[in-house]
């Protein structure tokens, strides 16, 4: 398991760096696909099978296809070169390292305090054995349509608004800016 985690985590990091550092936009997009598939594997490790599937279908599938489609449509090409010694990149990288260290320190500390390093805090009723015996999708669906019904409905409204907004923005009326 540790091996799988190591491979997936490494691929995720490589993908993420690829997004940021690639010179071609299309390479960035493909790196993002790698990152997302790796994340789906990590979700499986965390007993979130349904979300892993959603990650593949929605992100790696729909969203990324949309990205690639737009890239193909606009064909920006390699017009931007990220120099490895650019000041902003160096500063940004430094900040990223500091951020990760701080979070890591906090996390280790928090875990030690709250759960003695165990994976199961055992705080809620949905232990993986219970959920998997019951059915991942069923448990999630029950929660979604009872406790989280209102956010769910609001989300559906949000999607509708987004669709309407996208149609409105894409209409060829006059230049946007």
């Amino acid at each position: 398991m540790t091996v799988i985690f190591g491979i997936a985590a490494g691929l995720a990091l490589v993908g993420a760096l690829g997004v940021v550092l690639s010179q071609r936009t299309l390479y960035s997009a493909l790196s993002l696909v790698v990152n997302m598939v790796s994340l789906a594997v990590l979700f499986l490790l965390l007993d979130a099978q349904f979300l892993a599937a959603v990650q593949i279908i929605v992100y790696a599938g729909a969203v990324m296809v949309l990205f690639v489609f737009i890239i193909a449509l606009l064909s920006p090409g390699a017009e931007e070169r990220v120099h490895p010694l650019e000041v902003r990149l160096l500063l940004g990288g430094l900040a990223a390292v500091v951020f990760t260290l701080v979070i890591g320190r906090l996390t280790l500390n928090g875990i030690t305090v709250a759960g003695n390093g165990r994976l199961h805090g055992g705080l809620g009723p949905f232990a993986p054995t219970v959920v998997n015996a019951h059915g991942q999708v069923q448990t999630l669906g029950e929660q979604l349509f009872t406790t989280y019904l209102l956010p769910f409905e609001v989300t559906s409204l949000l999607l509708l608004v987004a669709a309407v907004g996208a149609v409105y923005l894409s209409k060829r009326r006059r230049p946007l800016l």
Binding site: A95, V98, F99, V102, I103, R105, L106, N109, G110
Partner: protein, 667 residues
Amino acid sequence: MNPTFTLVLAAIVLGLPTAGFLVNALTFGKLPKAVVAWMGPGVVLGSFVAAVVALVAMMSRPPSDRGITIVFWHWLNASVGSGGGVAAQAGLNANFSVRIDPLSVLMMLVITGIGGLIHVYSVGYMDHDRSFNRFFAYMNLFVTSMLVLVMSNTLVFLIIGWAMVAFASYALIAFWYERKSAVVAGRKAFVTQVIGDVGLVLAAFLIFLNLRGPSGRLLHTVNMQTIFDNVGPGAHFHQGLGPVGGGMVTAIGILLFLGAAAKSAQWPLHTWLPDAMEGPTPVSALIHAATMVTAGVYLVARFHPIYQQAPIAASLVAAIGIGTALMAGFIGCTQYDIKRVIAYSTMSQIGLMIFAVGVGAYSAGMFQLVAHACFKALLFLAAGNVIHAINDEQDIRAMGGLSQRMKWTFACFTVGALALSGIPFFAGFFSKEELLSNGLALGPAVPWLWLVGVTVNVLTSFYIFRVVWVAFKGEPRSEAAAHAHEAPPVMLIPVVVLAGLAAVVGFLNIDFAGFAPVTGFTSFLRPVLGVPSHQPSDLVGGLALLAGVVLSLGGVGIVWAVYGKAVISRELVPRRLPWLYQLSYNRCYWDELYDYTLVRPVAALARGVRTILEPDVVDAAVAGVRDAIATLADDFRTFQTGFLKDYALVFFFFALVGLVVLGLRLT
């Protein structure tokens, strides 16, 4: 009583004037005058018919079944428990519910009946006014507000009605807003009313906070029937509003009376009423004689369970009532404005009613209220005829000789004067006899309070017959008076109807043995007001009757001697007792006193605030804040580069700083 049927009736009674007001107001004067002339009085008379039907329906029931509470809609419902029963009554539940019982039906009849007649009269009186529609909109609004006041079963809507009435009164006093005096008078009335409102609202708060149920639990209710039920015997410390005569119940009684005094123009909140005569005469008749000013009497009668627990407050009420009655009668004797004489008369008569309800003679007070509504509306409307006939002149010295030219008006005015004076067999005779004999039997400081009450009779008949003599008899003293004409039928018929009422309404209180179900006024109100604790004996009653009549006739006799036969010189009092005359003529200097002790200091304070505090402190502070913000904004504007990444960089940078700080604190 049948709840559904009563609900429909109450909805009609309240709804018709409301609809009249809304239609009239929302058309912004665009409605044709003919439509308004029919609609304005029509809705009030329709309401009257519904009230009569309610009365008939009520009389067909046994006395124990004559009260019903109808909930129109629920509002601010935070009551504890659900369903019926006592539990549901506890807690705030300010639903719009009305109480239909003999007392409220009586008030409804007075308001819509006399109000309807005055509306009819107004069609003629306001005929030439360019704000005809506005006038009827206000009048209908007033009737609505007054009905809300007397019908409401919760303190909340009682207060709403109370305040709406004050607003309608203000709007009608200042109706001719081009006249500065009218606007000032309206403002004075309104401000005085608000002082009373404060008293009423505070009383309501105290009741809400302190009323306890039988189990000693705080009820927190605004339902008036619940309040009256629980104030009840109240002998136990943990029930109702505390023990009889306790501080709480006394405070509530006094605060309630503050509201009543402002509304009913009782000392020390009386000075607005004479000024209110700036309004059109029908307004004076309806609001400042027949209905609104008697709301204080209604209030004390309605809250009599509280006053029965608060003897000190009740005695105060009685004393102020009788004092106001005497003072107003005294002032009325020397005024020359015909409407002001009647206004002081109103104040005086209401003082008697307040005296009656203060000593516990509730039904006697209410009876005087009804009789007074009839004859005082009559007097005002007849005076309105006179004023209308002589080009809006109100000074009685400019009248004279009108009895020949305005025979009907003269006759009706005289009937009103007789009724007011308590001359036998007119309305005022019965009501005052009842009032004074009950007062004698119940009065806490018998007999001197009673003696004062009887003395008022002399003053009453003196000032009103003085008007009769000076205005209607003798020779015309002005060009206009010489060419006066009788009023048109639309103004005369209501006056004649009121004269008929003033002549016969007193007989209502006689217990006609065979006349069931109408068995007299007192027994009609008994389900609500109970019976007085002491009944006057026949001897006391007879003595009171005799003294009252003799003194009233004495007053008429003095007028006859002074103004008719000139046996006594008119200059007798002004010359021999100039201070007394000046005291009366200058209205006991109350206006001046308030002017010097309240109005001027407040105005001076306001000027001081305006010249010192405002520019140097308030304005300076505001300007300082403004300048500081402008400087800061100028400084910060340089951050706004317009590059998205700069904003993102700043955002991330500070997020990182926050995280690092958090991390340092946690580790």
